[in-house]
Amino acid sequence: MTEIRTVGVCGAGTMGAGIAIVAARAGYAVVLYDTNADSLERAATQTEGFFAKSVERGKMTEADRDAALAAYTRTTKLDDLAACDAVIEAVFENLEVKRGLLAALHKVCPEHTIFASNTSTLSITEIAGGCGREDRVVGMHFCLPAQLMKLVEMSSGLNTSEAVFAAAWAFCEALGQRPVKTKDAPGFILNYFLVPFNNDVIRLIEAGVAEPADIDKAIKVGMGYKMGPCELLDLVGLDTQVLLCEAFHGVTSDPRCAAPPLLKRMVAAGHLGRKSGRGFFTYDRNAMYGA
């Protein structure tokens, strides 16, 4: 296996920007690619801000920060990924978009380049299908926010070679992350458990069993969870929960994964959670998260 030195990240949104920070912090040369220049701009600002804080808190030296930023480039041109040894994609959660990207990347990147997908709901095998190097595609599911969360759920597609998976695993560890091995199954581990659990919470509210605040308190005090499910749903966004439900229910037909009627009504009413100022709880829209 060729040593990984240069890492491409596709998609400079919420996840891509964070993953690029992880790679830069670990000492890799990073090329961040997005078709949208505004996303790249936003990612650049976030990255500089994040590294400035890291230096301030003594988690990174100024020299390391300068080196990381010097080796970090942004582009709207796919051809600029030609020197990458590994590419992690975090573009829109859409099978056609991801497949199109991997097929185009296959033409641009050298033969040895490993492709990793950060998909939450799609199949790694399906994303890899037809890209031209199905044996070199792995699932690498980071958690939000990627720059703070260590966990990465790693999976192989049906055609992924064992050597590539092993190389991707070593790469993940070299990124300073904690990989866990799972399967190319809907939602991997986290979302497989979380999405239907959260739906059950919504059904409990809909059935009038308890108020959101009582459910959150029960979970936090009874189980020691840091966040209650209603708080978490408001943070993730109720519209996102609907999308997750549609993706999982479409594949598994598990009734627990079907979007509960109350969830759909709340989204229809514009109660999307924190981002709209109201979900299961109400929020002061000017308040900073975590404040």
Binding site: K181, I189, Y192, A218
Partner: protein, 217 residues
């Protein structure tokens, strides 16, 4: 905080050891609390009390008080301190109301429990209340996915701890607290809900069979 008296029928799951709540009881209290496995049988209606609390297991309050036409409700409430199997009881008390429960009884019971350092979540008389109803399908799924090889037990536990900040993963939690107890609770809920997610997972059935043979879990 209202004064309260305790009728202890023995083997309370909510208060297996000394607790400030037990120490704070006095004779002739305004609230009467029935504790222990015989709480439901010992219960007597008494309109002179501000509230009467009956400790519940997996059963419903309606099985104690009777119910009809959705019009049930009085000064009698149900409660249980949440606890998984042999694990220590948490500080969370699920306080069970019926459609027409007295608001004054709920307020007094809440103050009394909070006065003893406990936290209270109010819920209706649903099978499994809040937590067992939400958690048992998750536990069964985790056990099933372990059998299907989704991940090793360690990786599954680690994923939920690192990814969601849970203090403990599902497999280690169930094995620490007794998988056979999970079997009993989820089976009781299965009777009401009837969906496969409440049906005891294979590993829970095995643990129950082994416990029944007296060879532990």
């Amino acid at each position: 905080m209202p004064s309260y008296s305790i009728v202890d029928t023995g083997n309370s799951r909510s208060f297996p050891v000394d607790h400030p709540f037990l120490a704070g009881a006095e004779d002739g209290g305004a609230v009467l609390v029935y504790l222990g496995i015989g709480a439901g049988d010992a219960w007597r209606a008494d309109g002179s009390k501000t509230a009467i609390l009956v400790e519940l297991g997996t059963g419903c309050l309606g099985a104690v008080t009777g119910e009809s036409r959705g019009e049930e409700g009085s000064n009698t409430l149900g409660f249980a301190r949440f606890r998984v199997g042999d694990g220590a009881p948490s500080d969370l008390v699920e306080l069970v109301r019926q459609p027409h429960s007295d608001a004054a009884a709920i307020a007094a019971a809440t103050l009394m429990l909070e006065g003893a350092g406990l936290e209270v979540s109010l819920c209706t008389d649903a099978a499994g209340r809040i937590l067992d109803r939400l958690l048992r399908p998750y536990f069964n799924e985790a056990l099933a996915k372990l059998d299907e090889g989704l991940a090793t037990a360690d990786d599954m536990d680690l994923t939920l701890k690192l990814g969601l900040g849970y203090p403990e993963g599902p497999i280690e939690l169930l094995e620490r607290t007794g998988l056979h107890h999970h079997h009993d609770v989820t089976k009781a809920l299965f009777e009401t809900y009837g969906t496969r997610h409440y049906a005891p997972a294979r590993r829970a059935v095995v643990a129950k069979q082994r416990a029944a043979r007296g060879s532990g879990t």
